[in-house]
């Protein structure tokens, strides 16, 4: 049987200074008309490489296609001339990317850019504009007649992804490749975009190749799934098959690591709160980023703050830590107000409240070794530890977070993302704090690494009696980890309560929307959720 697109035994190498990297080895898969195939893998698994090979996006050198063929309607596109391939790209096979902002040219209007896609393939200008209008309407851009002549920065993230989709669909391609199309988007927007893709696929009958790291996304849209690890396909089958009965140990590990399945924590009871925030506000000029937030954190408690981008959750963290000055309200740490505290007193309190940042690549100084990074805490607060004991303490801390202490003279770039976040946690622990604020501390990490870091945080909480203020956008993650959950929207706290109450019995519409939009890794559960979501939309 002839498939629409077939990748056979594809191997791609990259020749780097450190030696040859086998990006993919002997990868074989196929895609039919009207079908959605998901390539699932973590960072570095080579999941994007075969798509790049299809679109002729691999730079050779350093890349080299060692073996294999890519058959499109029976013809090997790797043997085609550059001109033939250019003709194919965009017209027959189109692609959308993770970050729509960097793939839209900021100096041209969106109408021009979408029309250019068509004029480049020979459509007359007037007709192209007409079709652009149609497309904008189809992908759901409100007020499209006027918006057609505006620039990319005037759109929101979700709308930009819609624009990219419009551009990709301009020539009615047979295949749409979507490389992590929703990773940069909020969950509610993600649900809308995935829905749009499915609708469009049903209308046009195109084949959809979805590259993702998110099992929830796979469950939502994929018919079949291919799981990749270290450049090889470890498992393939229908989405339900792979989820229900994984064969390969890697797939099993991946599915086990998905958050949102474990037992929910019981509320921590009784004690005096360690942190008590009352009516904390922060305004930038006329814009209120944080509107009188009130919450408490008990000792040994994990309070999660969830919300979409722009909900003010990071602003809250920054105001507590005095990285930003609050414009109103108070934040009491053991009865002392952080907002009005004098610098000298604040300096002492820095020891007690620490922060772990979102992106460990950026929060560690690239020019300092791990030893320097962790021991900086002792340089700043010399009263903690005499210099002669620094080294043994750093060893101890590295042991504590599960890193090899003999690596302390290495630099951050020599570690993987998960290891870097462990270094960042070790740094926070160096001051022996009682409260750690985690600002999206695991969002940048792969699912399996995420689970490990969460385990680590839990263990440290038990051993050291820490409290966490855990800021996240990922609801399933919070479900497993937090004792209490605070939901924020547009700078305000809309709902807060014990984790069980929020997840099982949400009161606010926004919380319900958020829960409905966050995808579940089980395709059957997800199908039911989708029904529920549709219902919710109808009633709303």
């Amino acid at each position: 049987m002839n498939h629409l697109l077939q990748v056979k035994d594809l191997s791609v190498d990259f020749h780097t200074a450190q030696g040859t990297v086998h990006a993919v080895r002997g990868v074989t898969w196929h895609l039919d008309r009207g079908e959605t195939l998901a390539i699932l893998g973590e960072s570095g698994s080579g999941k994007s490489v075969s798509a790049s090979a299809i679109m002729n996006l691999i730079d050779c050198p350093p890349g080299e296609i060692v073996s294999g063929e890519i058959l499109f309607e029976g013809r090997d596109i790797l043997k085609m001339s550059e001109d033939e391939r250019r003709d194919l790209n965009g017209r027959r096979i189109a692609m959308i990317f993770q970050d729509p902002l960097s793939h839209l040219n900021p100096v041209y209007t969106v109408g021009f850019q979408i029309a250019e896609m068509m004029t480049a393939h020979g459509t007359p200008k007037s007709k192209a504009r007409e079709r652009t209008m149609e497309l904008l309407k189809r992908v759901g851009i409100p007020d499209y007649e006027n918006k057609i002549d505006t620039y990319p920065h005037q759109f929101s993230g979700g709308q930009r992804q819609r624009l990219m989709i419009a551009m990709a669909l301009a020539m009615k391609p047979d295949i749409l490749i979507a490389d992590e199309p929703t990773t940069a988007l909020d969950v509610t927007v993600q649900a809308q975009i995935l829905e749009l893709l499915e609708e469009l696929q049903a209308e046009t009958g195109m084949g959809l190749l979805l590259i993702t790291h998110d099992l929830g996304v796979v469950a939502e849209v994929a018919d079949r799934v291919v799981v990749m690890n270290k450049g090889e396909i470890v498992e393939s089958g229908t989405a339900t098959q792979v989820y229900k009965a994984p064969v390969h140990p890697y797939t099993k590990k991946l599915i086990a690591a998905v958050p949102g399945e474990g037992e929910m924590a019981q509320p921590v009871g009784g004690e005096e709160p360690i942190l008590k925030i009352e009516g904390l506000s922060k305004a930038y000029g006329a814009f209120t980023a944080l509107d009188s937030a009130t919450l408490t954190v008990l000792p040994r408690e994990t309070v999660a703050i969830v919300g979409e981008s722009g909900s003010g959750k990071s602003t809250l963290a920054k105001t507590i830590l005095r990285l930003e000055d609050a414009t109103g309200g108070a934040a009491f740490y053991e009865g002392r107000d952080l907002v009005t505290m004098a610098p000298a007193e604040l300096f002492d309190l820095r020891r007690e409240i620490q922060m772990v940042f979102q992106d460990p690549t950026q929060s560690l100084n690239p020019r300092m070794s791990v030893f320097d990074i962790i021991s900086e805490a002792f340089v700043i607060h010399p009263e903690i530890l005499p210099k002669s004991e620094w080294k043994s303490k750093v060893r101890e801390l590295l042991d504590h977070v599960g890193l090899d202490a003999s690596h302390m003279h290495r630099y951050p770039h020599q570690f993987s993302g998960g290891q870097r976040q462990r270094i960042a946690i070790a740094r926070a622990l160096a001051l022996a704090p009682r409260l750690i604020i985690c600002d999206e501390a695991v969002s940048a990490l792969d699912v399996s690494i995420q689970a490990q870091v969460i385990q680590l945080l839990k263990r440290l909480q038990d051993e050291l009696g820490l409290s966490y203020l855990f800021i996240a956008h990922d609801l399933p993650l919070v479900r497993d980890f937090a004792h209490r959950v605070v939901v924020m929207q547009g700078g305000r706290i809309v709902e807060q309560g014990p984790v069980r109450e929020i997840f099982e019995n949400p009161k606010e519409q926004y919380t319900k929307d958020l829960l409905a939009a966050s995808p579940h890794p089980d395709p059957e559960v997800q199908a039911e959720r989708r029904k529920a979501r549709m219902q919710l939309e109808k009633t709303a």
């Binding site: 450190q18 820095r350 620490q354 922060m355 940042f357 070794s369 900086e376 080294k391 060893r395």
Partner: protein
């Protein structure tokens, strides 16, 4: 630089081997990059010339010998100091280049180092302090930049005595804005990075953030600019000498020698050529060395100098 050095932590835990001492690491990395090694050796020789040249060859270099007027180079029957030829008064060029190294280096290095230190300092303040302070410093830089640098030098040196010290001051002032603006722009970007925030959360003082976290990131850029500036300052100094307000004969610099040789360019090219070559080689060496240093200072790039080069 401080950044290359390993930690001076006491090695009480025998299990973890400390990195070899800093100078061994530097020497190894220099050995890997042969061009940078040549550059370092050449600069070392220039510095030796600058330190000891005038002491040893001052008399030879100033002694006139009218029989050797514009003597062509490569006449090996003459004294070795004449191997590169003689100048318009028969003075040996080789000896003069060696002696001139001192003044040239003093002016160029002095001006560049002063400009870099002051410019970087002000740039750090402008970048990290509040808006008002930054505005004052930046407008000051604008004022300096709006003056043609040579015009400023002419005015100042016309009023002051044209001594080496004054020359350094004038040239340094005219070069400050370059370092200042680069430094400020970089600081504005780096101060928003997350590792700076992380340091703030730990309670790091402003000094620590600026000197430990921001400066090491800015520094390689500034050093690269400084090496390029070196050549500019040498030439600026020679044009001042040419106008009669810089270093005056019988004192000599390379730039002055190039200027003096210009009238003989058609008949005796070597008068300008050799000192010109000295300027070019010095600048080139500095550039190569700064390029090497940028790699050596950056932990992410350092492996390029640490792994043995593979043969293809």
């Amino acid at each position: 630089m401080t950044d290359v050095s390993p930690h001076n932590a006491p090695s009480e835990a025998p299990a973890i081997a400390d990195a070899p001492p800093a100078y061994v690491q530097i020497a190894r990395m220099l050995w890997r990059d042969k061009l940078a090694l040549c550059a370092a050796i050449f600069l070392f020789i220039v510095v030796l010339c600058a330190l000891f040249g005038p002491m040893l060859l001052e008399d030879v270099a100033t002694k006139q010998n009218l029989r050797g007027r514009n003597a062509p180079p490569f006449d090996f029957s003459l004294h070795w100091t004449m191997w590169l030829g003689g100048d318009a008064l028969g003075r040996p060029l080789l000896a003069r280049i060696i002696v001139a190294a001192q003044n040239t280096m003093m002016v160029a290095a002095g001006a560049v180092v002063c400009a870099m230190i002051i410019g970087t300092g002000l740039g750090l303040i402008a970048g990290y302090s509040n808006k008002a302070g930054s505005q004052v410093i930046m407008r000051l830089a604008d004022v300096i930049m709006s003056f043609p640098s040579l015009l400023l030098a002419v005015i100042v040196l016309y009023m002051l005595e044209p001594a080496v010290g004054n020359l350094i001051i004038v040239l340094a002032i005219t070069r400050i804005p370059i370092y200042l603006r680069t430094c400020r722009a970089e600081v504005l970007e780096i101060r928003e990075r997350m590792f700076v925030q992380a340091a703030k959360v730990m309670g790091a003082s402003t000094n620590r953030i600026v000197f430990r976290h921001i400066l090491p990131v800015v520094f390689p850029t500034l050093v690269t600019i400084a090496t390029l500036d070196f050549a500019f300052v040498m030439l600026a100094e020679s044009s001042l000498s040419f106008l009669g307000i810089g270093i005056q004969p019988p004192e000599i610099t390379w730039g002055l020698m190039v200027a003096q040789g210009r009238s003989y360019l058609t008949t005796a090219w070597w008068l300008s050529f050799w000192p010109g070559l000295a300027i070019i080689l010095t600048t080139l060496s500095l550039n190569l060395l700064s390029n090497w240093m940028r790699t050596a200072l950056d932990p992410v790039q350092r492996w390029r100098l640490e792994i043995a080069r593979k043969k293809k």
